[in-house]
Structures are given as structure tokens and as C-alpha cells.
Symmetry: C2
Amino acid sequence: MNVSSKSRYALMALVELDLRTRGEQKPVRLTDLAAERRIPEQYLEQLFAALRRAGVLTGHRGVGGGFTFARRPDRVSVLAVVEALDGAPDFEPSAREMSDPRERATAGAVWRAAGDAYQDVLARTTVSDLAERELQLGAGGPTYEI
Amino acid sequence: MNVSSKSRYALMALVELDLRTRGEQKPVRLTDLAAERRIPEQYLEQLFAALRRAGVLTGHRGVGGGFTFARRPDRVSVLAVVEALDGAPDFEPSAREMSDPRERATAGAVWRAAGDAYQDVLARTTVSDLAERELQLGAGGPTYEI
DNA sequence: TGATTCTCGACAAAACATATCGGGAAGAGA
DNA sequence: TCTCTTCCCGATATGTTTTGTCGAGAATCA
């Protein structure tokens, strides 16, 4: 039970995009984002397509093209990214799976409450928050690499 | 991203076991628990084996045998059940998967916080809480079936 | 001895995650 | 118009996890 690579990859690529578009509006190529963060390029392409459909990104074709944010990255929560890629993190099983009314009334409430707590945390952090944090760490933090 | 059938099945079977052993200590057969909750019997067998190894249940063989709680059901949290079956719900990817130190420092903290919030909720509810709730609902609640 | 019930390891089908492939469409510049 | 670049899209492949099933074995009781 852990976070999917999809969400991890996409989130890191978005942070990179935010860092590269501070001040400028110039689109950034998928290739560059993938290379910088060591993400399989064609896989990331798929993820960015989902983010574009979710209204997070805008694609620009041709020379000088690439991706820009469709809405400000400080309005893009981690939850929004996860939802676009893995679907809503719905811990409560569907009513169809949980056909016993006793289960829906008891355990169902627990799964729902836990899922809500999980989502709340993800909703409170944005792509820009992570980018900001990365800048601060890079400035005065540890400089050693692996 | 939803709760596994394993956890759901096991939890409902444990609630049923609690309801049937209130007052009496008599073991309850796996067959009866599985039938009452419409759980595949041989699958539940596997799950109960894990719960026994986790110190939640005790098995008794032979005629008049079955399962009893190894520790009081009001001390068995939903989290304990989930951990026994699906392993610790660790939302933060391992350091091996998350090899980029930038990711560990930024996104890693978010996954960890969200996972902790999730676990906290599950840790606060016990098998007995759910059994109690079911009793109350059954007493004066809705009696219609699907 | 024989019936009952849990115990255990292996196996199998289905679903899901993680990519990869190959062509297409739109935009920019010569 | 031609060509290059870059995003766009559907299909396919591969490996792992989940969800069970099967069959034999060991302990307990009458």
C-alpha cells in the first residue's frame, strides 16, 4: 500500500516545471523534464496527457513548444495530481464490493474517515510548496550527492 | 487505491467472532464465520492464519474447535488487522524507489504525513467498537435488506 | 479408529502497475 | 510547400500483486 510511481513521477516533473518557469512563461520540453528527473520519457508523456485533460497543464507543439501550467502551480495541490493519475484515492470500497449493509455501516465509516484524513494532508500541499522547499534545501542544505 | 478484500473480510469476520463470543469463551468455527459474512471459506482460512501468527487469534482443532481471540477484541485495532494482512500501510516509497534526494526531502515528507494521518484513524477504532456499533444499529436501526 | 477442525504450502486466474511502440497531428521556420 | 520539432493517442507487452483454490497433513475429541 504505497504511492504509485505515476504520482511520484508526475509530481516531481511538475516541481521541475515550476522551478524552470519562475518568471518566464516559456514552455519546457517533456524531454528536458524527464531527463532532469530520470523519468522514463514515454511514460511521463502519458502522465502529462492526463494532467492536461485534468486542466493542470497546457501543451504547445512545434519548435519552442513544450508544457506550461494551465493554472498557477500554487493552486495545484498534490491531491489534484494524485486524483488525475490514480483516480480519487477512495479507500472506502464501492457499495457493490461492500454489499453487506452491516459492513457499510461500521467498517465503511472507518475507511471513509481514514481516506478523508489522508486526502486532507495531500490537499494542503501544492506543487509550489514543494518547489519552494526544494529551493531552500538546495541553497543552504546538504550538497553531497549519492 | 482502496482497501484490500483481505482487510475487509478479516475485519468483518472478527466482528462476527466478537459478537458470538460475548460472555462465552466457546470457539467459533471458521465455516460459520465465513457463511454468515459471505466470505470465501478457504480464503478466510488463509487470513485467519496470518491473524493467528500476529497474535490476534488462537485456533483450536477438533470437534468443538474453532477460533477465539488471543487478546481482548477491544485491544485489537483496525490498524493491527490491516498490518497483519497487508503489511504496514507505508505510503512513503522506500529509499530505494525514491533515489532522488530532492524527492525524499520534499514529496517524501508529504507521503509520510498523509500515511500517518491515515494510520491514526485506523488505530483509534477497535474490533469491539465496530461490533458495538453493529449491535446498536441492529437494535433500532433500519431492518430492510437489499 | 474415525470424524472434525485447524494448518500449511503450492498453484492458478485475474487485475493492476509500469512501462514501450508506432504512427499521427499541429505548429514553426526555411 | 517542405521539413523538423514537439506534443498527442491508442495498442501492446511485461511483471507484480491480489484474490482466490486445491490437496494433503496434523491435532483433538468421542
